[in-house]
Amino acid sequence: MIEPVLPIPVPGVKLGLANILGLIALMLFGVKTMFAVNLSRVLIASLLRGILFGTGFWVSLSGVLISTTLVALLYKTNKFSLVGLSIAAAAFHNMGQIMMIIVIYSSIFMIYWMPPLIWLSIPTGLLTGSLALGALQRLRFQK
């Protein structure tokens, strides 16, 4: 909810800081908890912003469902690092959102936004992944 206030040079683009919570949950507690955390945050944020079951809610939900599912599959392969998973989460989240927008507005034209959003998901995924890694290192140090 704070993210839209942050100054980003590209209009409409968010850093995806909320993904950090899902990634930490994945690393500490596993896939099921990541699903629970990610779905809860979409529900709670939609309730707080008064957009539950509105267009924004369905767009967020599709992004979260697709990204969480695919990241869980990548995690199970044990091949990807936390930062790699974060980049994947950011990219798949954008893909899921665009797919839902295409369905809602019955406009295939919206697919034109997918490549720029995927390009932007790489630096934002790197950032959120690095932040999640830093948070995890501190959490483990405190244990």
């Binding site: 990807f80 930062v83 490549p115």
Partner: protein
């Protein structure tokens, strides 16, 4: 980049290459759709009400929900010249020449889309 292992790097490469190929294909489709003779389809409440030949400079009037909508064509570009609506967003949108950019006048329920006229050669289905 020390945090990225070999598989992460491959993922990044696949994302960049895949999205660039998609972007290139879409741009090629747009250029193909924008070349040659084109028409603009004007719909009111999802019903086609007018077909405009984009090669003829002229002004057209269609009836929208809140009043008359004036559409102008000039040099293969189209715009809503004026209309009655709360914010006049579709006339503010200005000239459009790409088939990927529809003009949507929501309060008047008017949609204008540029397409190629050949039958069976439609790049996109517009609903």
């Amino acid at each position: 980049m020390k945090k990225l292992n070999r598989y992460d790097q491959w993922l990044v490469v696949i994302l960049i290459v895949g999205s660039t190929l998609l972007y290139g294909s879409l741009s090629w489709l747009i250029n193909a759709a924008n070349s040659g003779q084109r028409i603009a389809i004007v719909s009111y409440k999802d019903q086609e009400v007018l077909r405009i030949d984009m090669s003829i400079n002229d002004t057209y009037v269609v009836q929208g929900t809140l009043g008359e909508v004036y559409i102008e064509v000039q040099d293969q570009k189209i715009r809503v010249e004026r209309e009655t609506s709360p914010y006049n967003l579709c006339s503010i949108q200005g000239w459009v020449s790409s088939s990927m950019v529809p003009i949507t006048c929501l309060p008047n329920h008017i949609l204008i889309v540029i397409v190629a006229p050949q039958e069976g050669d439609t790049d996109f289905e517009v609903k």
